[in-house]
């Protein structure tokens, strides 16, 4: 789920998980209304940017209680992930850095084994190595036991290769709800020498340009032109971030 700041991503996730209430409308999970309904609620877990866990509680206690509320929580797997991320289970929530605060919640989200897992800004404060580890683990987990993982993030480039389906929010409204493949077919990228690219894009709807030295890449909305391309130009997939900026720009 993508959207600019204030688009309503966190608000929507909070409504879905019954943390706040909608002004109008209803949320259904597998056809069951979610509002104040434990049968529907037990199918969801939300890892939020805000910390709702008791500050003085140790991580191992949190894992123990999560198992109580989500019986399918895999404690063994959670411990394994904690080892991988070098997270000490004896630490309290308040003693964790911003990065580790995200890590302990990521571990719960990956171990909880519930049908719908919502991750709101999951990689907040994580260094590049830990972010990479998280994306790999997420794909691994998804391939082993598929659940619906909904990621709300600003780091579009990073998640573009992880996601299957994209929902773009703009000012509280869904403006795109499509598969990644369909969304990416909205446009294409063309790259090559500056002069060649400039000539090619004269009559095109260009949404972004990257230049390095004598090379240039242009991101163009529309279908890839039929026929032969001028020699020296290369067509590639649209850049998701460029497309996002175009779609959400005021």
């Amino acid at each position: 789920m993508l959207g600019r700041n204030g688009a309503g991503k966190t608000t929507l996730l909070n409504i879905i998980t019954n943390r706040i209430f909608p002004d109008t409308g209803e949320v259904l999970i597998d056809g069951i209304p979610v509002k104040e309904n434990d049968d529907a609620l037990k199918k969801v877990y939300m890892m939020s940017e805000n910390n709702f866990y008791p500050a003085g509680m140790k991580i191992k206690e949190i894992y123990r209680w999560t198992k109580e509320f989500y019986p399918d929580f895999d404690t063994e797997y959670a411990n394994k992930l904690a080892d991988m991320f070098e997270l000490s289970l004896n630490k309290t929530v308040k003693s964790l850095s911003t990065g580790y605060n995200s890590i302990f919640k990521i571990i719960i989200a990956l171990s909880v084994n519930t049908p719908y897992v919502f991750l709101d800004e999951p990689v907040l404060g994580l260094d590049a190595n830990h972010r990479d580890m998280f994306y790999r683990l997420l794909l691994e987990k998804y391939s082993e036991s598929p659940s619906t993982y909904v990621l709300s993030t600003h780091l579009i480039e990073e998640v573009s290769n992880v996601i299957e389906h994209i929902i773009i929010l703009k000012k509280g409204k869904i403006i795109k709800d499509e598969s990644r493949e369909d969304l990416m077919s909205y446009g294409y990228a063309v790259s090559g020498k500056v002069s060649l690219v400039d000539e090619f894009i004269i009559d095109k709807n260009v949404i972004g340009i990257d230049s390095i030295g004598g090379l240039k890449s242009a991101y163009i909305m529309g279908q890839v032109p039929k026929g032969n391309l001028p020699e020296g130009l290369e067509i590639s997939k649209m850049d998701l971030q460029k497309l996002f900026i175009k779609l959400t720009d005021n």
């Binding site: 909070n14 998980t17 019954n18 209680w65």
Partner: protein
């Protein structure tokens, strides 16, 4: 199933707090008992009153952290509230029985040694009533009334805790200063200025009615009323409460 898990979670917290309370109480009692050995008597009068203060604080501080943890674990407000009421009921029962046992041990100790004297609040206020009944019945009645008192006190604390959670910082400050100022400064002032002291007399009569030494059931009646009002008000507040940043 989820109610059971929530009760388990809350009981864990309450039992931890109660353990700390009793250990502190026993520690202080033993400490002063030893210090005053041969030099005087260490007396605790109205022991249940201490537990009431403890339970009020427990109720007051048990909303925010618990509520957020339950939201995090996708528990509905309805389940949270039902579980909370069951936990408060059990805590009232356990603490009332524990306190009665402590008071009885205290009585036994004061018979053996003049060093320590633990007197129950109930035993002091309803002294004439207790003297009319046989010891077993009077102690069972004391436990029964104390359970309701403890539940009422915990719920009042819980209600205040929810109100505080829902307030912003300015309002919290305003209420924290405003309520004591109204009760202890403005009310006596208005009473003497406009009501000729009748308000104070009414409050005194109400207290006398509640703590009527011969009839503990007035206290029970008031507690039942407080419990009912608190349950309704707490539910009205909780059903629309939302998760807020810490």
């Amino acid at each position: 199933m989820r109610v059971k898990s929530v009760i388990k979670y809350q009981s864990h917290d309450y039992i931890k707090a109660a353990r700390g309370y009793y250990l502190t109480f026993i520690g202080i009692t033993v400490f002063f008992g030893l210090i005053l050995r041969g030099r005087g008597t260490y007396t605790i009068g109205g022991y249940e009153f201490l537990t009431c203060i403890f339970l009020f604080v427990v109720g007051l501080s048990s909303f925010k952290e618990f509520f957020l943890m339950m939201l995090q674990n996708s528990i509905s407000r309805k389940t949270m509230f039902i579980s909370k009421l069951i936990t408060i009921l059990f805590m009232g029962l356990i603490l009332a029985v524990s306190d009665r046992i402590i008071i009885l041990i205290g009585k036994l100790l004061s018979n053996i040694s003049e060093n320590i004297e633990i007197l129950g609040f109930y035993d002091r206020v309803f002294k004439s009533r207790m003297s009319l009944l046989n010891p077993v019945v009077s102690n069972l009645e004391a436990i029964f009334i104390t359970i309701f008192t403890y539940i009422a006190v915990t719920l009042v604390g819980y209600f205040v805790g929810i109100i505080y959670y829902k307030m912003n910082k300015t309002l919290k400050l305003f209420v924290s200063i405003g309520v004591p100022a109204t009760l202890f400064v403005l009310l006596p002032l208005f009473d003497s200025m406009f009501f000729g002291g009748n308000l104070s007399k009414f409050i005194l009569k109400a207290i006398q009615f509640i703590f009527n030494g011969k009839n503990p059931y007035n206290l029970l009646l008031v507690c039942v009323g407080v419990i009912a009002v608190c349950i309704v008000l707490c539910w009205l507040l909780i059903r629309r409460a939302v998760g807020k940043d810490k």
